[in-house]
Amino acid sequence: MIVRDTTLHAKNVKTTFQPGLLTKWLLITVAIGFLGIFIVVPLIAVFSEALNKGVQLYFAALTEPDAVSAIKLTLITAAITIPVNTIFGVFAAWAIAKFEFKGKNILITLIDIPFAVSPVIAGLVFVLLFGSQGLFGPFLEANNIKIIFGIPGIILATIFVTFPFVVRELLPIMQEQGTEEEQAAITLGANGWQMFFRVTLPNIKWGLLYGVILCNARAMGEFGAVSVVSGHIRGLTNTIPLHVEILYNEYNFTAAFAVASLLAMLALLTLILKSFVEWKTKKH
């Protein structure tokens, strides 16, 4: 009886295994081929073009004052955008996941707007609001505050574009966890802060980090929205992506690719961190 069962089982496996093997390798080949052409080759091209004229020129392109200023501005933008979006992202995700209120669905939809809207439109919205012809234009001009064609505009546009990353990452985690652990903390005498820092935050930390990494990658790499509000003033309001564009338009390919290679490296670093966090989350 037992013997018959196993032979039957083996037969089944054999018949389904043969075509499976073929499909498997076909799919893998297609996937690798596609990724190779569309991702790996361009990535190699960036680095080879950047190093085309030697390492010295590569570093010269990166240390040139305009490039340094673009790198600085990008770092400043990320340094402001990420904490802001992290804090508000946690607030929004918390409100949506753990409380019931009217208009919750509208809030979720609003959070998704930056993903749904073209970044150029996002930039234009800020020009319409804060530009000299805009809604708050006269007020800002009267008080000598410059937002559009300045650093504040770049930061605002970046915050807008990258807002959903943290929330979107946290929402499913927080919804799945429910509120029982928090309630338990409260019944044990914890106050709001203790509950958040000792129970809520440890439970979401890997998801939060994941969201922050994605948010950072986008904040540093954002082109469209920033391009609209920046004004492209060299050494003042250029971020890395804008600087790359300017160099490229001036046929300064080596320098353009050298600076672009920074973004490519950021992408690789992001992927490595992302895999690490994913591995950590799974282990958790």
Binding site: Q183, A184, T187, L188, A190, Q194, N203
Partner: protein
Amino acid sequence: MGITIKDVSKAFGTFQAVKNVSLEIPTGDFVALLGPSGSGKTTLLRLIAGLEGLDSGGIYFDDIDNTYKSIKERNVGFVFQNYALFKHMTIFENIAFGLKVRPRKTRPSKNEITEKVNELLKLVQLDHLAKRYPSQLSGGQRQRIALARALAVEPEVLLLDEPFGALDAKVRQELRHWLREIHQKLNITTVFVTHDQEEALEMADTVVVMNFGEIEQIGSPEEVYQKPESAFVYSFLGRVNEFRDSEVASESDKISYIRPHEIVLRKILQGDSIVSEVSHIHVIGSTVRIELRRYDTNDLFEAEMSIDQYQKMGQVKKGDILYAEFKNIVVFDKNSENKLNHSGKSGIRNSLKSKLI
């Protein structure tokens, strides 16, 4: 600490979860809130804890008005249905949590906390698991840790929401005894929610039967089982046969109930008995359930007896004719809010005789 609940109501949107409930729980009592899902028992428990705010009424612990006090001020221990242990903390840290979050002035020293946690781990007999994480524990162990954690803050009232709901039958049985023992040792006023009548009857000093947000009956396990005040209580607290005597016009709004073990089966006619035909015999361990069909009304009913009684009666098989005596039939009025109409043996037997034979 005793708990007084005065005329408490709570609605979620249009759903009235708890309706004008009043309840008096003396200090040290072990109370079961028993009812089907949606009967408001968990809501009532959460209202006592302060996890929900009430719409009207009052909640007092001894003479202290706790109606609008925060959870923290009420000093209750709450054990959640799914334990709600902190996943990222060890068992030790879980139990220590309530002590560690105290303001510096009242927080015990590190050594005192360690001592207290170890003491509690011993109480729940799991001191060897202090360094594990909740995910490494079985359901029964998690439940014990959840209780230890709730006890760490030295609550004056212990509240448990379906404490054994997620456990398998054997572990549940063990934990019931264990929880009773703990209650006897600590003598904290304890309220637990359950939908399992057996659990309520076996563990509690006082059973509060709830249905549709209202209390149907309060009493000792014996009282609620032997003297149910409503048809709901009667049918909820154990297996029951239900007879609707609609064919008797004058009593169309009455329903009679009898428990299977209160039916006496005989092979020969004796006293007021009903002729019935055996349609099924189930032997379940030490008890035997026999399904029969009444000859007069064609209703199916179930009789239960011990295997000894069954063997004494002699061979019975499907299709046999037996005489069933309904010893303790109870009649409830369908229309008068299910309240008891008659009870006991006198009177009912006579009225039954006219109906049945």
